[in-house]
């Protein structure tokens, strides 16, 4: 409760700071406030408290995800200090919008009433529509904002329809009541309920960019300012997956929904990985790699057992760390290349900036899932989970797709380590250097000692 209030107030404070021209204070105040919120969450660890008459349930699950969301936002704010250093206008608004979006994220990781799910997703999304258009003079940024807005509204419509149908068949928005209804149906059919589930899942799947609800993601990722892209692919994705699991994790799903999930997983894995092969623009590559990772995460959704939340938590946490680091490297390289985003801008990075190249390699290896990085443990655990639940062929398919994934990450590594060429001279601000190194070290540390990151 206190953390939610704190972050909301923090956003308003930042707006005022911006109004009175204290630009230098924006990020530090934001970071201190977020860390305070983190402490509030940590202090209540293990407590179960229901807020707002049971609409929101802050349990260990919600609290762990909330803390990850806050940490990732802090990292992004640290990056923001350098990122917004040259921007004159509306910086305070951007920070504040990210905080508001974060509130939405916190709500959907902890909802226990579907109204809150809808509200949370809207609170999460509406600031993002504005943020995606953050570069006002950029055509692509405007396109991204508009595309995201139109498709996002469409998804919200789906979600709302789904919720209404669920209400129609269960007469309640409370998650426990809906779970009880699902259990009472058993193997029978309740068309209204089934359709409700379909549409609701579609609405959530839009946020995690699962095929066939992924069309927005490459364009929006490419057009939005890099910091916002990083925010979308980490904070938003983590929150949406947390919400997804919260929604269906304890529900006895009808067979048809299962089939839908399997199809969605297979298509997401296939499309994300295969299309990523053809990408030459790094940001688009990251967009498709993000879709591919959605596929691996969905694999964990095929069958649930006690390990699932922890597996999701580990996967999303480590994925966010690697992604934040890579987007910072991209920003630096893009700046040195005067706006170019082709993967060629990484060429010869090892000679011009060895440490940065090594960290980039570690982050990419983690996304690829090579042993001793966190990404390997994350994938390993997802595979263990889905095999334990008996999805032999789907898992085999995912393993093949993991191989395809390795290919496009290795291509980028190869660029960075191309011999004989001196790459662009990147200017690395000390804070950025710190964040990137932190991500790189964390990815290896969590790969060697995976027990460190758990619920």
């Amino acid at each position: 409760m206190s953390a939610l209030v704190l972050i909301s107030v923090l956003g308003v404070v930042l707006l005022y700071l911006g109004l009175f021209g204290n630009r230098g204070l924006l990020a530090p105040v934001g970071i201190v406030g977020l860390l305070a919120a983190f402490v509030f969450f940590a202090a209540d660890w293990q407590l179960e408290n229901a807020l707002f008459a049971g609409l929101v349930q802050f349990d260990t699950y919600a609290r762990s995800f909330s803390m990850v969301l806050i940490v990732v936002t802090v990292l992004l704010f640290l990056f923001g200090i350098d990122y917004y250093a040259k921007v004159r206008e509306n910086v305070a608004e951007q920070y504040a919008l990210m905080l508001f979006s974060l509130i939405g994220g916190l709500l959907i990781t902890s909802f226990s009433n579907l109204i809150v799910l809808f509200l949370g997703i809207e609170i999460l999304s509406i600031p993002l529509y504005i943020l995606a258009g953050g570069k006002r003079d950029s055509f692509r940024s405007g396109e991204a904002a508009f595309k995201y807005f139109v498709q996002g509204s469409f998804a919200s419509g789906f979600l709302l329809l789904g919720l209404a149908l669920l209400y129609g068949s269960t007469a309640s928005f409370d998650l426990p009541a809906i779970e009880a209804h699902a259990a009472s149906i058993g193997t029978g059919t309740d068309m209204l309920f089934l359709l409700g589930l379909f549409f609701t899942i579609a609405g959530v799947a839009f946020k995690v960019a699962a095929v066939p609800f992924h069309f927005w993601s490459p364009d929006v990722y490419e057009g939005a300012p890099t910091l916002v892209t990083a925010f979308m692919s980490t904070v938003v994705k983590t929150a949406a997956f947390a919400a997804f699991y919260r929604f269906i994790g304890h529900m006895q799903l009808p067979e048809a929904v299962h089939t839908m999930l399997i199809l969605m997983t297979v298509c997401t894995l296939f499309l994300g990985n295969i299309v990523a092969l053809r990408q030459t623009q790094f940001k688009r590559l990251m967009a498709y790699s993000s879709i591919a990772h959605t596929g691996f995460l969905l694999l964990a959704f095929l069958g649930f057992d006690a390990r699932t939340p922890d597996v999701l938590f580990y996967y999303l946490g480590t994925y966010a760390l690697a992604t934040v680091g890579l987007f910072i490297v991209l920003t630096l390289a893009k700046r040195a290349a005067k706006g170019d985003e082709h993967i060629h801008i990484f060429r010869g990075l090892f000679r011009s900036n060895p440490w940065l190249a090594i960290v980039t390699m570690l982050l990419l290896l983690s996304l690829a899932g090579i042993p001793l990085t966190a990404g390997f443990v994350a994938k390993y655990r997802v595979f263990v989970l889905s095999l334990a639940n008996g999805y032999l062929l789907t898992t085999a398919f995912a393993v093949v797709m993991a191989l395809v994934g390795i290919y496009y990450y290795v291509i980028v590594i190869r660029e960075a380590f191309t011999p004989g060429e001196r790459g662009l001279q990147l200017v690395v601000a000390p804070l950025n250097w710190l964040v990137i190194s932190l991500c790189g070290i964390a990815v290896v540390a969590l790969g060697v000692m995976p027990g460190l990151l758990r619920m």
Partner: protein, 480 residues
């Protein structure tokens, strides 16, 4: 202690080389490190009394079923000896190479050695897999940076090809871990898995694919010749002498215990494939005009034979295969070293450009001949012992297969002698002075040749080492 030393000596040296960049002393430092590792391994060998020695046995992340178990048995020790013996010579071969950034080269080689030790020390399937994949990474960068023509494409092909096998293996391992039945991934409990035959039949290929690519056996070999030919000399040595032995080791340690019936079911198929590769490699080797490519294809041929011998699954075949694995490692290093020495003098490894070199470099010619004798498996050489055992093993399976296997020896003799003729004999094309074998050449080649000849006369030490584990392995096979 032994395990920790083996992992830490090369690893710390590599880190030091990478960050301190002592360009002048890099090769010396690396050489000292590999010699220290060799000392540790020899000490372990002298202290070894049989059975499986476990040094560490602990949970890594208990909740997720990750365990950290390190140790070795006879077969593992043989592989450790092989790695430790070969690496000082690989580092020494670098003295003749003019590669840029010697400290990085040696750091990558030492990283590779660390992970190879890790592979042979791991006593848990998942730990084995982790080291198995890790060993690829330094090699990837080594090839990417110091490789020859088309290195960018070939390196990625090699990497992806090998990872295809690796991921397939991972899938298999996870599948086995999920089956419970008292199996926690440790080699000690690996026999507890008792899959029905129908499962074993497909699971065999899932597990075997990784090692089939690594070795490589026909038809999974297409990455190998290009990679071997393109790689810098030391890279080819690492790949050919040590890394492919991981395949052999993996088959013995993982494939056989998990799917014994699958192994028997596919036995003849694998032998036939392996022998096709052996004969095909021999024929292609004969057609090569480049000495290094010739060695690459001859390696393909030898490895096919190794795999065929192993899949005889009787004590002759398995011991012979392991023995020959050791012989092959030394042989590959010698052969490649000589091709490097010729390239140093002539400027390319094209055999068409050579000829008559015996007149200019008689000592080197003599050393080459001694290596050649081992390569064609003449009696009293190490290869003869290994190959004879493998033929005897194959004979017990099927006479015709043994016949096909023996024909590779004939092929080997043809292409090796033909190569020698083109390089060393004939008219003197090079009417200019050329340095004969230097002290360094002698220091590398003479000890290796001496070992091969000694073990050719007295194979006892190595055969004793693997005898007990092989017997255990085979008895487990007959139990099933």
């Amino acid at each position: 202690m032994i395990v920790a030393l083996l992992l830490l000596i090369p690893f710390i040296t590599a880190l030091a080389l990478m960050f301190l960049r002592p360009t002048q002393q890099a090769k010396n430092v690396a050489l000292i490190s590999t010699l220290a590792s060799l000392g540790v391994v020899l000490f372990a060998w002298s202290a070894y009394t049989g059975g499986t020695v476990i040094h560490y046995n602990m949970d890594w992340v208990p909740a997720w079923g990750l365990r950290f178990v390190m140790g070795y048995d006879g077969v593992g020790l043989l592989m450790l000896i092989l790695t430790a013996v070969v690496f000082p010579f690989i580092i020494a071969a670098g003295y003749g190479e003019k590669l840029q950034h010697p400290s990085l080269v040696n750091a990558l080689l030492l990283f590779t050695q660390t992970f190879l030790f890790g592979v042979f020390l791991a006593q848990n399937t998942l730990l084995f897999y982790i080291f198995y994949e890790l060993s690829l990474i330094p090699v990837f960068f080594f090839l990417l940076y110091w490789g020859g023509e088309h290195r960018r494409a070939i390196t990625v092909k090699f990497f992806i090809y090998t990872l295809l096998g690796g991921l397939s293996l991972l899938f298999g391992i996870i599948y086995c871990l999920g089956q419970g039945a008292g199996f926690n991934g440790d080699f000690a409990t690996i026999g507890a898995l008792n899959f029905p035959l129908s499962t074993q039949i497909w699971l065999f290929w899932v597990l075997f694919l990784a090692f089939a690519i690594k070795l490589p056996i026909f038809p999974f070999h297409s990455w190998q010749p290009d990679t071997y030919a393109m790689a810098p000399l030391q890279g080819t040595m690492v790949l050919g002498a040590v890394m492919l032995k991981m395949g052999l080791y993996g088959i013995i340690k993982i494939v056989l215990p998990i799917v014994p019936q699958g192994v028997i079911h596919w036995q003849e198929t694998v032998i036939v494939l392996a022998l096709i590769g052996a004969i095909y490699g021999g024929i292609i080797a004969f057609r090569q005009s480049d000495l290094k490519r010739l060695i690459a294809f001859s390696s393909l041929s030898h490895v096919g034979l190794l795999c065929a011998g192993l899949f005889a699954w009787n004590s002759y075949g398995v011991s012979g295969s392991l023995y020959q694995a050791f012989a092959h490692a030394l042989l590959v290093v010698c052969m490649l070293y000589i091709s490097g020495a010729m390239k140093e003098r002539v400027g390319s490894s094209e055999m068409g450009a050579m000829g008559g070199l015996k007149l200019r470099t008689p000592r080197l010619a003599a050393l080459f001949l001694l290596v050649l004798v081992n390569a064609v498996a003449l009696p009293l050489t190490q290869s003869f012992v290994g190959e004879w055992l493998m033929f005897a093993g194959l004979w017990q399976v099927n006479g015709w297969l043994a016949f096909a296997a023996v024909s590779t020896i004939v092929l080997g003799a043809i292409y090796m002698l033909f190569a020698y003729q083109r390089v060393m004999l004939g008219p003197d094309k090079w009417a200019l002075e050329m340095t004969d074998a230097t002290t360094r050449d002698h220091l590398v080649l003479v000890p290796l040749i001496a070992v091969t000849l000694f073990l050719g006369v007295y194979p006892g030490p190595i055969l004793d080492l693997v005898d007990v584990p092989v017997q255990q392995l085979l008895s487990s096979l007959s139990l099933n």
